[in-house]
């Protein structure tokens, strides 16, 4: 059981790290693209998308953590 719990822990750390990195990366792209105004609209969209992905990942992680280990409701 120990290796499995270690593996899960590594996965959690990886997911958190990626989510944490994606959001500032999106913000960097967004800020640099904004300096060129609406001409760089595809980059602005991309920056916002990165931020959204980071937020979605964190929310999914939170949901997964909340529901982990809870078995499906047993039939009466």
């Amino acid at each position: 059981m120990k290796p499995q719990s270690q593996q899960l822990s590594l996965r959690k750390r990886y997911r958190t790290l990626v989510s944490a990195l994606i959001i500032p990366l999106g913000l960097i792209i967004l800020v640099r693209a904004s300096l060129f105004g609406l001409q760089a609209w595809t980059l602005i969209v991309l920056g916002m998308a990165f931020v959204a992905l980071g937020v979605v990942r964190l929310r999914a992680y939170a949901w997964n953590k909340q529901h982990q280990g809870i078995p499906a409701r047993k039939r009466k």
Binding site: R11, Y14, V18, L21, I22, L25, I28, I29, R32, A33, L35, F36, Q39, A40, T42, L43, V45, L46, A49, F50, A52, L53, V56, R57, A60, W63, N64, H67, A72, R73, K74, R75
Partner: protein, 565 residues
């Protein structure tokens, strides 16, 4: 278009009565991460192949071409998410079209997706061999081969042999069982997500130049034809959702897991495709990618400061890994879709046999991996096997997706009773004659128009695809007609099936008890509104209603009017 059912068709179906009792089923072993990586394995590799080709076509508007294809893909993805969560059965798009439009169109959709999966197996096994040959260039040798007096110039026999070995190896992995091959995908998928993210991360941190992107978009914008051609090619980057829905029958608690993994995958794939195309235009002229269309990501990575020194061999390894798991997703998908089609009498039931020990559909795995090998060997006779295989790719996807959209719309009206843990957003509310509310998804209508336009572009611009694609469909229809006539089943009409019982079984098998309770309540309301018993009593005497073949308890019995199940 409503589903055509033929209550009387089943009366004469002598062959259907000989349904093989199969006590083995696909086991539920795929979790959240497994479901995600099954889809990612398919899509992640497509970007690696598509970027260079799309760049050569769409030029300074490559990012816009990816954005257009990506928006259509998001709508396709939302449709798949709703259907996969509501109907968590192996078969994916084929199964949803079968539910919505009936047997005939269900077969057409399944056969079209099958074209993609078999090409997926051969094309990506070939690409993987190509990336490995980055380290052993001698294996890329071109030679002239003569067969029966016909000379084939520039054939790459070692490359084809390597790809053949990969296909055989992956087929074996899938025969051993989904647990093993899912784990295999999970490990490789994680490695590739990290690597791709690293390329994008370092690229955007150290190398991207927004002014170059703006310059290329303003001075190198293509004409309408090239932009449309680029967009139609870009859609080949987005086939992974089919894999998630294929795996939904083997996913633990699919009603909860599938919507989350699907939405995460939709966002990941869209963002990666947009990120790679934007980063490429913001780092290098599009012409340089057109010249390196065999290894565009390696070319991009080699120009990133610091990372660039090791990027060549690293990205070659990464590419080999990515495309190999994409090929594996093809083996998995092709076997599951034929398994599903055989269970519903769209293909001979011989295919639905599950291995007693490994509980995997061994016959479909062997047969359709075999077809993929034949495609590989035939394409291998051309000097550019990638081009021959890639040209047919988009046709199958666009055809199947179009039918899935129609099916989504139809199912919203004919089956509002099945619980939908996820619904495609933006709906118009209608009240049916029975008093039940129906929702028309605006996104579904827009998606149908979008994918129809892409199918039109494919037919207009893909020289091999517009011939080989329809030819594949015609071949499939001949097999379908032969099988249905041989078993005295209706060809254009559908068998009447007990979908409600099947749906209940699937929910209980998946541990989705809340959904099962909701379905029971909905069905009770339906019976109240419709007076169901009265409808059944109007069926001709002796009419038989087929139970859907339930995989785990072998429940293939039939009910005669007046009999209890």
């Amino acid at each position: 278009m409503a589903s055509k059912t033929a209550p009387d068709a089943a009366v004469a179906s002598g062959a259907a009565a000989k349904i093989e009792q199969d006590s083995h089923s696909l086991r539920r072993a795929v979790g959240v991460w497994g479901s995600y990586t099954w889809g990612y394995a398919d899509v992640g590799a497509d970007v690696y192949v598509a970027l260079g080709i799309v760049m050569a076509a769409a030029q300074g508007a490559t990012n816009v071409a990816f954005l257009f294809a990506g928006l259509v893909y998001v709508m396709v993805g939302l449709a798949y998410t709703e259907l996969a969560a509501a109907y968590p059965m192996a078969g994916g798009g084929q199964f949803y079209v079968l539910r919505g439009l009936g047997d005939f169109w269900g077969f057409v959709a399944g056969w079209a997706v099958l074209l993609d999966f078999t090409i997926d197996i051969s094309l990506f096994a070939l690409a993987s061999a190509g990336y490995i040959n980055f380290f052993i260039p001698v294996l890329d040798t071109h030679i002239n081969i003569s067969l029966s007096g016909i000379t084939f110039p520039g054939v790459q026999p070692f490359l084809i042999l390597e790809a053949t070995i990969f296909v055989v190896l992956l087929t074996f992995l899938n025969i051993i069982g989904v647990r093993e091959s899912s784990k295999f995908n999970e490990i490789l998928g994680a490695l590739d997500v990290i690597s791709e993210s690293s390329i994008l991360f370092f690229g955007f941190l150290f190398a991207f130049n927004p002014s170059m992107l703006v310059h290329q978009m303003f001075t190198q914008w293509p004409d309408a034809f090239h932009l449309a051609y680029g967009a139609s090619l870009a859609i080949i980057s987005f086939v992974g959702l089919e894999s998630i829905s294929q795996a939904s029958q083997e996913t633990i608690r699919p009603g909860k897991v599938v919507p989350r993994t699907s939405i995460a995958l939709i966002l990941t794939v869209l963002i990666y495709a947009l990120a790679f195309s934007n980063l490429s235009l913001a780092m290098l002229p599009w012409q340089s990618f057109a010249q390196h269309n065999g290894d565009p990501i390696a070319w991009l990575a080699s120009h990133i400061p610091v990372l660039g020194l090791i990027a060549g061999p690293y990205v070659a390894m990464l590419g080999a890994t990515l495309v190999l798991i994409s090929s594996n997703a093809g083996v998995f998908g092709a076997s599951r879709i034929t398994y599903s089609m055989a269970r519903f009498d769209l293909l001979p039931r011989w295919f639905s046999k599950v291995h007693p020990k490994f509980r995997t559909p061994i016959r479909t795995l062997v047969v359709f991996s075999g077809i993929a090998l034949v495609e590989l060997w035939l394409a291998g006779l051309s000097p550019n096997a990638y081009d021959v295989l890639g040209n047919m790719y988009a046709f199958g996807a666009a055809t199947a997706y179009m039918l899935v959209f129609v099916s989504l719309l139809v199912l919203r009206f004919i089956d509002p009773w099945t619980p939908r843990p996820f619904k495609v957003p933006l709906n118009l509310r209608f009240r049916g004659k029975d008093g039940e509310t129906r929702l028309l998804p605006i996104v579904g209508v827009l998606g149908f128009l979008g994918i129809s336009s892409i199918l039109a572009l494919v037919v207009l611009t893909h020289a091999i695809g517009r011939i080989a694609g329809p030819a594949w469909i015609i071949l499939g229809l001949l097999i379908y007609i032969w099988h249905r006539r041989r078993n005295k089943l209706p060809v254009t009409k559908s068998l009447k099936r007990n979908w409600e019982k099947e749906q209940m079984h699937v929910y209980e098998d998946a541990g989705e008890y809340e959904l099962a309770d909701e379905l029971k309540e909905n069905l009770a309301r339906k019976r109240r509104l419709h007076g169901e018993e009265e409808i059944e009593s109007r069926l001709p005497i002796g009419t038989q209603v087929l139970d859907v073949p339930l995989p785990s308890n072998g429940n293939h019995s039939r009910k005669r009017k007046g009999e209890k199940v």
